[in-house]
Amino acid sequence: MQERVKKDPEREFRVVGTRPIRPDGADKVTGRAKFGADFKMAGQLVGKVLRSPHAHARIKGIDVSKAAVLPGVKAIVTRDDFKDQGSEFVPAGEMLVNYRDVVRNVLAREKALFEGHPIAAVAATSEKIAREALRLIKVDYEVLPHVLDAVEAMKPDAPVLHEDMITAGVTPPPTKASNVAKRIEFVMGDIQKGFKDADVIVEREFNTKPVHQGYIEPHAVVASVSEDGSAEVWVTTQGHWIVRAHCARLLGWDISKIRVTASEIGGGFGGKTVVYLEPLALALSKKARKPVKMVMNREEVFRASGPTSGANIWVKIGAKKDGRIVAGEAILKYQAGAFQGSPVQPGCMCAFAPYDLENVKVVGYDVVTNRPKVAAYRAPGGPISEYAVESVVDEIAEQLGLDPIEMRLKNAAKEGTKAAYGPKFGPIGLVEGLEAAKGSPHWNAPLGKNQGRGIAAGFWFNIGGETTVSLQLNEDGTLSLMAGTPDVGGLRASLSMMAAEELGVDVAKVRPIIADTSSLGYNFLTGGSRSTFSSGMATVEAARAMIKEACVRASKLWEIPLDAVTWEDGKVRPAGDNAGKHEAMDLGDIAKIAGKTGGPIVGYSAITAHGAAPSFGVHIADAEVDPETGKTTITRYTVIQDAGKAVHPAYVEGQFQGGAAQGIGWALNEEYIYDDNGRLENPGFLDYRMPVASDLPMIDTIIVEVPNPRHPYGVRGVGETPIVPPMAAIAAAVKRASGVRFFELPMSPPKILAGMKAVKANGGAKATT
């Protein structure tokens, strides 16, 4: 079932809101589309990475002498081939990266900090030879004690990963190094007073495991460096300008020397916003003077590319008898992996964002551990903190005997609400979403045996950022659109629709591409749910620039003043006194006169997009729990979310459904499992259990449309919010189905069965795990 709930439809659209076939579709259903590993260059070498078998070890020496003389080996790089970098943070998606750490994540320097940490890379004439060369590299390790868990890593006697890391955000600064990179705090009002006023207070501790983005396409790159130092890179990435920036910085090359082309991307979800192989491939290619192709296998993806944080969360909420929340407090401890930079900050900002509260305090700790460095994963940080808060909200509603939707409506953020993290919300669609949930067929349907229903709300930001779009009017009146935010799930469809809408042409006349870094101005990456919002805004602006130019050309042709020309219904028309004196011209007509009226016509927009507006979602989940095995089946699921304006509703629904499915995996089965030596035990899709088709029901959607007033078409980013509510919604459903409330993810069958047995043993008393 797909529904739409509209609020004040302000304008009628011709193209926006329809469901045309995506312009890159035919290539993707015929196998023609070129993804990262599908590129090939004549004479290319195969690059492979040697990785640490230890979770934590000092690297006393690396001897490549035997590997270097193996026939077929053309280049080897180690830490000695990369200059050290100073500590400096730069934005990457919703997260920051520090070049001191980026260079160490690409190749270990002093220490190997996680199992899978790259130690050296080899380029050889075949994969077989490259693998043999890796075996011949001798690394002298001094194995050190390791720590995997954030709470453990915060203890005073924990092994310290970085001997120079002093906790930031604490006054006075600590004198001793620790694994806590920083402490952050958001405070609003007076929580002590708030809790004093509360009729009911619930305080709970939660634990979550790291989960991986799980994109089906492993990281892949082909790099070719010429003798003059100019470089070509083909890579699967969410941001090729970011790849260019990071590589130029790590290699000390001019940015202009590196041209990066983004391949089709086989899923990213935040995980392809950082560099792993790219600097290695470039360094190898420069040394070998041949193109180098590097592709991770699935095991490497799991061991060495970023999952999101596992975390420990403590939440305390106080409410009045009528359900009004009077105080909310949370402490979040997020694993960052080997280097600082967990998404604990957005986690803190999101924690209570769905609610209009007076008294809030959230404290976060960014904690390094001997795991792969986390990367962004769809709404990074938000799903973890909001899972905990929403679970406590559900428990309070239950204690007060309130309907969980009513409880949320009583506290819901709305236009003008001041968020605990600072800003006041503009028009937002949470109340509309909750009302839509209340009236949905799902919420009002009966439940079967051993089934329970849960609901949860969720919030995520939307970002703007640097964006460039170029729109060329071709000689025949068709249009070529160049954007620079890689298309992860229908962007080219939305952009061509927005261009067509604005220009009054058929959507099939607009052919969009994702341009390389030398063909278009700078673009920040696809992340923060920004690509439809930002590249869409730039597309509309580029189209408007083209319209303006079309008017100029017509006025020249007609020899009338520019202000005597208007654009209406997709045509330039003479206006005022001249109305009717000349035949109106569409873009096809304008294209024919472009040469003689001043030259080619290009609409261009290079902007920092502002006015991004957050999106709220509400999810309803039905779970059936087998009382004898603890196995949970999701029997029905509905996603309700504010899209501002759904440009291509099918791809908006797709975002809703895909986020929900990832959340279901997070809730029930996905987790990183380590052995006692800090080695990952499930680096494959067999035991890292993402949902398969038979695990899921159809996922119903209701698109709420509360337009974002700061986007020309009302668009909000929608991609990330859908992964925020599922864990709490499912936990609430499992509680009602099994009688047990769980405080740990994943809610895997052994935990659920043990929880139900404990309840039975207590004679039905409330048990917690």
Binding site: T629, D687, R689, P691, D695, P750
Partner: protein, 286 residues
Amino acid sequence: MRYEAPDTIDAAVKLLAGEAGLARVLAGGTDLLVQMRSDVVSPDLVVDIKKISELRQVKEEAGGFRVGAAVTGAELKEHAKLPKAWPGLVEAANLIGSTQVQGRATMGGNLCNGSPAADSVPGLIAAGATATLVGPNGRRDLKVEDIMLAPRKLALTKGEIVASFLLPARPARSSDAYLRFIPRTEMDIAVVGCGVSLTLDPSGTCTAARVSLGAVAARPLLVEDAAKAIIGTKLNHAALAKLEAAARAACKPIDDKRGTVEFRIDVAGVLARRAALIAQERARKA
């Protein structure tokens, strides 16, 4: 690595027996290729047995069936008679991996991969299947429960191949069932597996039964006490309770990434009961 694909079983045995390095048999390849790819094994010789017709056939024999060790799960399912006679065993073989994997994976490979969690092995053990082995010293028969000794350790000698399985003749009112527990609905390795085969008399009393458990010990188990619990009963409440208890008592599981000791023991009892009831229902109609 050498690849050979002989078309007689004797040639295959000769190749395997004569290899000085590491030799591996390739049937469906759904375990072997994964292990080769991840450097778990690096064989010097791979002998593909799929061109040996004896290993690729299902034949009726002695009132039962002789199933070639290299017959795929999908082929078992498509066989005209087998799914009706041995629905549990055919289901077990078709629980291994995806549709794609079922097009390749074989019961011989499933057994010889030497995993305690192999799905088709409890099915074969419950069925009372006998494996025919062919080696440098000729042919011999072994009960399937006597083949796997411990994880990755088999009772096979160097050069010996599992050629086929003999499924015995079925009395009237006999059937079987296999259930496994996995966290998802598909694509997982069994956390617990249980095969039950039984025969009813005209009054519905169970006259013969075999119960086998997988993934709860170092090797798949034939649990005679569990069978005894239901033989002579109509699988009433008390008999099923005894069956559950016997199944649980037989478990010697480990804690690992797929499940805990406690969970495996609990679920083994549940699956034994559920599988027995399914087998009973089927036997009534058989």
